[in-house]
């Protein structure tokens, strides 16, 4: 029996490959995701280990706040560094000056790292990291040794078009917005890849002048253990002499802490990519079920013969399952291999966003292979189970009959089940709409249930759609009619093939409606609320010097200027909360916010009304806010109405001093003075930041456009990933049609024999493919319309206040689906038209 199975497989290499293709793509996506994130994480581990010393002395709590956009104002005096160096367990102690306030500008005036990874500035020294190697070595030229000298990493120098001896431009968010220094050396990072970040190195005194007001102090101290001393021993020894507010952390602990933080971000990325992988696999499962159903149907006579020769039902179904197992194994193997390519593609994609891990070799962990095989084989076996059971029910007598029809399970049960799922789904959507907590989850569950239900019911639903398409095919005459009839001939097969495309298009349509609604909401919201003439922001997200706002205030004709600064914080121990420090009365005044409080003291906080309701906070309550320098008890002083102009929590600038952050601006709103107009002050305002590429001035419309650009960028990325599902669906159409053509070989031969031209035959296959594709598109878009609309209604509270249905885009999707159909038909149509007429007619 096994031999028969294997023979079968070998005799149908092409079909094997085609049915494996869905598996290959699904597994490739899973494997690619795992390989890519493993590689990222290895790359970051390299960075962390290559830059973390044996023991770090730093202000308490700093470790988990590496991403804090504003610099911590707590410093370590040089005298303490000397004391630490004299510890018996320490071989050396190196004071470290660090800043992210500078950004490297290329010789072409553009930011070298784009608006992605940071520029890391610090003082150059040869202190070894825990790997024993110095974090940074000078590969070419010499180390910076005086004011006005700099060394940068070789990759950034190349990107920026700089050579040794050139004048390098750095822009600062500090008091001195633009810095021009001489490039004296090219550095190399000891940990390998820099993930796209730029390194900027100064000598210590110059770095202190730039970042620490010229005082002989440091941000951190790197301690190196003496021979035979462990990290723990040295950290303990150092802790004894440290003043309050500082801590000594072992390299292992510091690295783990950083890696955890990176892992959190990578974990998020992995989850998103795996969601798309699952979509690919669900779509792929449909195709495998379909392919195996068709293959079993075509082989039913042969299976009946096996039964007639004494094979048991179990042997027959087992032979189908073994076939599936082999297809699964082959598909998984190819899938993981393709996944390696996909990981390379992802690496290139992220490199273009500035996150460059291309210097780290791809990490293909055994786990990746195991997961790939488990997913691929399991999915194929599950998908082949039903067709295998059906195969076993072929009566032995069928071998003797001319036309064998497989016993098909009644559609009624399937329809009933589908209808129940749709009803449950509709109920969940309704619940989501009725305003329960986490409504989006109900909508998601409901959408999933409806999607599966509609997939089950699709043989029934497809009929009216196909008949309508058939009506549109009237101009094609008989060929069009036969194409429609062929699509209607086996509703299950057509519907299953279309379902794959349907799922893809449901998701794409839902995302399009959401994206379009978000855009419109931003549009409406910004026009209503951002009533100022100009906004200053930093596209990188890093804050900038308050000097800029001060300069703008000086301009004739400028009226109100309101500054805000984001303070990263945690509230309730875990949730990242956006706390904004500002000058509250002026902010409320400028944006016409009807707040219950006027000014705030350093230990007071104002909460947005809806958030206060959610958390049950009332004026006078205390709440704990944790920042980089520790936890603070703040009193709720008042509330302000829902708005998009600021975040959920407001404090005064005094709070920034309290938590020991550098006072900087994240966002500045500018109005023309009464009697002056926006156009009058536009040029002088733009002049202020003309030399600072990290700060942009935007009018209301420019602000809307930049928001749209971000939303559209995300949307494009999502659609690109969903595009994979559509590619798989297209392959499904190819597969079904190719198998149908094989099945109808005799009929094709007959049509050719009675005079149908190759062109007409190709058109017939093509029209059938287009009918299937458009069927999938119509069902998908119909569902997407429902889901998108419901989601918008549910997310009304989250700021998506407007519903916008991008009709043009949806029409384009239908056209794309038709084109997908045309493309999918190329191979099967060619195959059909190339059939030898004589052989086709005499085919059994």
């Amino acid at each position: 029996m096994l031999r028969v199975t294997l023979r079968n497989l070998l005799a149908r290499k092409v079909r094997l490959l085609m049915s494996a293709f869905a598996i290959v793509l699904g597994v490739a996506f899973v494997a690619g995701t795992l390989i890519f994130t493993d590689t990222m994480s290895k790359s970051f581990d390299g960075i962390v280990e290559g830059s973390t010393p044996d023991v770090t002395v730093r202000p308490e709590g700093t470790g988990s706040w590496d991403q804090a956009p504003s610099a911590d104002t707590r410093t370590i005096p040089a005298s303490l560094v000397d004391e630490l160096g004299e510890l018996s367990g320490a071989e050396r102690a190196d004071g470290s000056v660090q800043s992210q306030s500078l950004t490297l500008v290329g010789s072409d005036g553009k930011l070298v790292t784009g608006f992605g990874p940071p520029t890391l500035s610090f003082n150059y020294d040869d202190a070894p990291a825990m790997t024993g190697e110095p974090a940074v070595v000078i590969a070419e030229g010499r180390e910076p040794s005086a004011a006005g000298e700099v060394a940068i990493d070789a990759t950034s120098a190349e990107k920026g078009g700089y050579e040794i001896g050139d004048t390098v431009t750095l822009v600062s968010t500090g008091d001195q917005p633009r810095l021009e220094v001489e490039l004296v050396g090219l550095a190399e990072f000891g940990g390998g890849s820099m993930a796209g970040a730029s390194l900027v190195l100064f000598d210590t005194a110059y770095a202190q002048e730039l970042f620490l007001d010229g005082k002989d102090v440091f941000n951190q101290v790197a301690l190196t253990t003496a021979d035979g001393v462990t990290q723990q021993e040295l950290a303990y020894e150092a802790d004894q002499i440290l003043p309050d507010g500082f801590e000594a952390v072992t390299g292992d602990a510091a690295a783990a802490q950083t890696e955890d933080l990176i892992g959190e971000i990578l974990g998020f990325l992995t989850t998103i990519l795996l969601v798309f992988a699952s979509i690919a696999i669900i779509v792929g499962t449909f195709l495998i079920v379909n392919t195996f159903s068709i293959l079993v149907a075509q082989r039913s006579r042969e299976l009946a013969l096996l039964r007639a020769l004494g094979a048991s039902r179990r042997q027959v179904s087992r032979s189908v399952l073994i076939e599936a197992l082999i297809v699964g194994l082959v598909g998984s193997t190819l899938g993981v291999l393709l996944g390696i390519g996909l990981a390379q593609g992802l690496t290139a994609l992220f490199k273009s966003f500035g996150l460059d891990v291309s210097e780290t070799p791809l990490v293909i962990a055994p786990r990746t292979w195991i997961v790939g095989y488990v997913v691929g084989v399991l999915v194929t076996l599950v998908a082949a189970y039903l067709p295998a059971r059906r195969a076993a029910r072929v009566a032995p007598v069928a071998a003797m009959r001319d036309d064998v029809a497989l016993p098909e399970s009644s559609m009624r049960l399937r329809m009933l089940f589908g209808a129940i799922l749709v009803v449950i789904g509709a109920g969940l959507l309704w619940l989501g709409l009725s305003g329960v907590d986490n409504g989006a989850w109900y909508v998601g569950g409901g959408a999933f249930s409806i999607l599966i239900g509609v997939s089950l019911m699709s043989p029934l639903l497809s009929h009216p759609v196909l008949v309508t398409i058939g009506g549109l095919y009237r101009p094609f005459g008989l060929v069009g009619r036969m194409a429609t009839q062929n699509a209607l001939r086996n509703p299950r097969r057509t519907a299953a093939t279309a379902s794959a495309l349907m799922i893809g298009l449901t998701l794409v349509t839902t995302m399009s409606i959401l994206g379009s609604s978000v855009n419109k909401s931003v549009d409406v919201g910004v026009k209503k609320e951002f009533t100022t003439d100009f906004l200053l922001t930093n596209p990188v997200g890093a804050p900038f010097s308050t000097a800029i706002a001060d300069q703008i205030r000086e301009i004739d004709g400028v009226g109100d200027v309101v500054e805000t600064q984001f303070v990263p914080a945690r509230i309730d121990d875990n949730a990242f909360a956006a706390v904004t420090a500002t000058d509250p009365p002026r902010l409320f005044d400028m944006f016409d916010l009807d707040a219950t409080v006027d000014d705030l003291a350093a230990d007071e906080i104002a909460v947005r009304e809806d958030k206060a309701d959610d958390l049950g906070l009332e004026v006078g309550d205390a709440m704990t806010v944790e920042t980089q320098s520790g936890k603070y008890e703040l009193a709720v002083a008042g509330t302000y109405p829902e708005t998009n102009v600021t975040t959920e929590y407001l404090t005064s600038f005094a709070f920034v001093d309290l938590v020991k952050l550098t006072r900087e601006d994240s966002f500045v709103a500018v109005n023309a003075a009464p009697g002056s107009s926006a156009s009058e002050i536009e040029e002088p305002v733009r002049d202020v930041v003309a030399d600072i590429p990290t700060v942009v001035v935007q009018t209301q419309q420019e602000f809307i456009d930049s928001q749209r650009e971000q939303i559209n960028g995300i949307l494009m990325l999502i659609n690109a990933l969903l595009g994979l599902a559509i590619v798989i669906a297209a392959l499904g159409i190819v597969n079904t049609l190719a198998l149908s053509v094989i099945e109808r070989t005799r009929e094709v031969g007959l049509l050719r024999a009675v005079g149908m031209s190759r062109r007409q035959l190709r058109r017939m296959v093509r029209l059938e493919a287009v009918a299937i594709a458009v069927l999938g598109a119509v069902l998908g878009i119909a569902m997407g319309l429902v889901f998108g609309t419901v989601l918008q209604r549910v997310l009304d509270d989250e700021g998506i206040t407007e519903l916008s249905i991008p009709v043009g885009t949806l029409v384009v999707y239908v056209v794309i689906a038709a084109v997908v159909g045309v493309l999918a038909a190329v191979f099967p149509a060619l195959r059909a038209s190339r059939l030898n007429v004589l052989r086709a007619i005499s085919t059994e």
């Binding site: 005459g477 008989l478 060929v479 036969m482 009839q485 062929n486 209607l488 001939r489 005799r746 009929e747 007959l750 049509l751 050719r752 024999a753 009675v754 005079g755 149908m756 031209s757 190759r758 007409q760 007429v837 004589l838 007619i841």
Partner: protein
Amino acid sequence: MSDGPTPATTRSVAARAVDLHKTYGKQEAEVRALDGVSLDVYAGEFTAVMGPSGSGKSTLMHLLAALDTATSGTVFIGDTELARLNDKQLTKLRRDDVGFVFQAFNLVPTLTAQENILLPLSIAGRKPDQAWYDQVIDTVGLRDRLGHRPNEMSGGQQQRVAAARALVGRPTIVFADEPTGNLDSTSGAEVLKFLQHSVRELGQTIVMVTHDPVAASYTDRVVFLADGKVVDEMQAPTPEKILERMAAIQTRAMDAAAERSLEGGAA
């Protein structure tokens, strides 16, 4: 060898084969399906091609019907030499000048009887000649079943639909490959009568390949094939005469085979 003279001068030729050879396989495995067949098919005549299995009768019909190409030799349909045509022209020829009836009924299952009958015309984008169409439908006797699909009809009915399809475009020649092979004798007789009727009353030219002497007895002329050659022919056949002639051919073939093996043994 033949019954009576062949009045080639008075009748026009609908199809002609000249020294046709067809071989399959190569060298030792070479099979000569046709080994120099020359044959004229006369217009308005019902011709049967008979012979034991392996005699090359199906191959001959495939070549005559432009379904296959000969290894050497030429085929004419009317005045057209097939070897000179490209695929497009061959397709047009099959559509306009040739009709087919196959052993297995070969109807398109998704189309009704009427649509199946009109299939070649629809493919060509032509309207049927209404009078001719009515005549064909009445002859075939299926007017009340035109709206049915193939799976709603009996085997005989299906084959009559296939025959009507072959006739409706008024082709130069109709080829029928064992048209009664899948039918019981009553249904088979219906189909054969219809074919005979369409030759006698409608003036159609039909070539039928068969191994059934009863079926061949409906024709005007029987051509006998053995070992890839035309070995005999007969006018106004009856089943008894055909059986007699076939037995003779069989005996001759066996003798020849015996001789060959004797020669082989001597060498």
